[in-house]
Amino acid sequence: MLGLILFLIVLFFAIAAPVFADYENEAIKQNVYEKFAPPSREHLLGMDAYGRDLFARIIFGARLSLVISLTTVGASMVLGCLIGSLCAYYGGWLDAITMRIVDIFLALPMTLMAVTVVAALGTSTTNLIIALTISMIPPFVRIVRSAVLQVKGSDYIEAAVAYGSKDMRIILTHVLPNAIGPIIVQATLNLASVLLSVAALGFIGLGVPSPQPEWGTMLAESKAQMRYHPWQVIIPGVAVAITVLSINLIGDGLRDALDPKLKN
């Protein structure tokens, strides 16, 4: 519940960002005279090292982070569902080979994978999404496969075959909707880790390129002033922490609600 409230607040600021601040003038345009200005009525959280409004950058940053992580999770969920359900449904060689490939990918840490892909493709927001999607697909394939395997054995699937449904139809209308519980939980929890990865990649300079306001990038930019202006680091850090925490809380809540084994 707390998670949902926090997440809705973050989402609200992300969606309503243009209402609170002007992107070009406040989040991008540098104004060196006002650098490190303390919080005031005009600039709620003060200014950063280049005289940009920190509050504006945080809320536009929320936008960027959420767009990137939602796209990534969405894309990897769709692809993961497709691959996972085909593997589980048909089994045999297709399944065996795909699962070994997935195993290889799972052996590499997600961030490392993303770093490699971004390094190969170059830094841009699109490449970041591609990199994260590639590293997110394998865990999804695993989860979807096991969920589908469980549903596939049900009598109603056999009944659907017995009244003449085609394979694709069975997968889409009977199997996946029944397997959606664990997939949704996985997606939510992955959302948090993607968000964290975006910030981490931004921090080491492989994420969203400057001057776009991204939380990880903001942390990296202001780490030099940490001793004199700790505020500059704390604010983006807190933003990342709150968002990740809220999503994780939602994920845990969903898991408790959807997994009967954890209910007492």
């Binding site: 009598d155 009944a159 659907a160 009244y163 003449g164 209308t173 909707p177």
Partner: protein
């Protein structure tokens, strides 16, 4: 009425498992006419369900296989047609009612949609006509059409089985395979459901294979009976042949003795001693020989053929091998 709707000849089905080959069905012969009901009776593991699944070609992938024999549906050999053609037969010409109505409905789709799906797959009806058909089917099985948007968990067990029957009959199939349709239901609901199936079957002139181990159910609903044991049909005949004739396969006799009788003063049942033979082992001789009270030396060496005792009645036991025996080898 005279054309054979279904003709199974010498059907052999095997399951390949990690532990070896299971000989599930070993040479089954069956015929069924339009509108007729055949009761397939036997113990658990006798191969009844396997026979039914073979007709729909629904044996488990890569494990179950039709080894030999032919299945003719309306004269068409269905063991050899493609998967796409087979899909067209499933639910359209032949449909199946599964044993457990609790699990054979998709829990997250409204029941109306599940009935409509079969109609959608096999007819060209538009949405309105399909909805009308769904309403008709629900009325036919004695449920209110207004409940079509409800989910399976909102129905009782008996109602769910009615819905399963509605799905099965939605496309007016010529053959209905009912795999123990009433086993999971309590007795009062059982007779209601059977009564309803019988009425619907007559109305649509559907042939039916009723798989059961309940001999009472068979007497109530079937025209013909086939007694199955260890993958063989040991006795085949009309209901009169099985229930009234004096000549029986020893297994059938044992089966009838295992039922408690209300009107006789007996306090002990006479079950058949022993267990069904391991289907992994191919037996020489009659498969019932180990448990048969009338077993002879010959039974252990040779397989009995199907011997005709009257017009419609055949028994697979050497006891009935007479001059006019029909020497059809199994």
């Amino acid at each position: 009425m005279d054309s054979n709707l279904l003709e199974i000849k010498d059907l052999c089905v095997q399951y390949k498992t990690h532990n070896g080959t299971v000989y599930a069905v070993n040479g089954v012969n069956l015929t069924l006419q339009k509108g007729e009901t055949l009761g397939l009776v036997g113990e658990t593991g006798a191969g009844k369900t396997t026979t039914a699944l073979s007709i729909l070609r629904l044996l488990p992938d890569r494990i179950g296989e039709i080894k030999s024999g032919s299945i003719l549906l309306d004269g068409e050999e269905i063991t050899k047609i493609s998967e796409a053609e087979m899909r067209n037969i499933r639910g359209n010409k032949v449909s199946m009612i599964f044993q457990d109505p609790m699990t054979s409905l998709n829990p997250i789709l409204p029941v109306g949609q599940q009935i409509g799906e079969a109609v959608l797959l096999h007819t060209d009806l538009n949405k309105e006509e399909r909805e009308k058909r769904v309403d008709e089917m629900l009325t036919a099985v004695g449920l209110q059409p207004s409940r079509k948007n409800e989910y399976p968990h909102q129905f009782s067990g008996g109602m769910k089985q009615r819905i399963v029957i509605a799905i099965a009959l939605a496309c007016n199939p010529e053959l209905l395979l009912a795999d123990e349709p009433t086993t999971a239901l309590d007795v009062t609901i059982q007779s209601q459901v059977l009564q309803m199936m019988n009425d619907l079957k007559k109305r649509f002139n559907t042939g039916m294979i009723l798989i059961t181990h309940d001999l009472g159910v068979v007497a109530q609903t079937c025209d013909k009976v086939a007694i199955m044991y260890a993958g063989h049909i040991v006795e085949n005949g009309t209901v009169q042949d099985i229930y009234e004739s004096a000549q029986h396969h020893p297994y059938t006799v044992g089966l009838f003795h295992s039922i408690p009788e209300m009107n006789k003063d007996s306090n002990r049942l006479a079950p058949i001693p022993g267990l069904m033979p391991d289907p992994m082992i191919r037996q020489e001789g009659c498969s019932f020989s180990d448990r048969c009270p009338k077993c002879s030396e010959r039974c252990r060496r040779e397989k009995p053929g199907n011997y005709t005792v009257s017009n419609s009645h055949t028994i697979s036991c050497f006891l009935y091998e007479q001059g006019d025996a029909d020497k059809e080898e199994i």
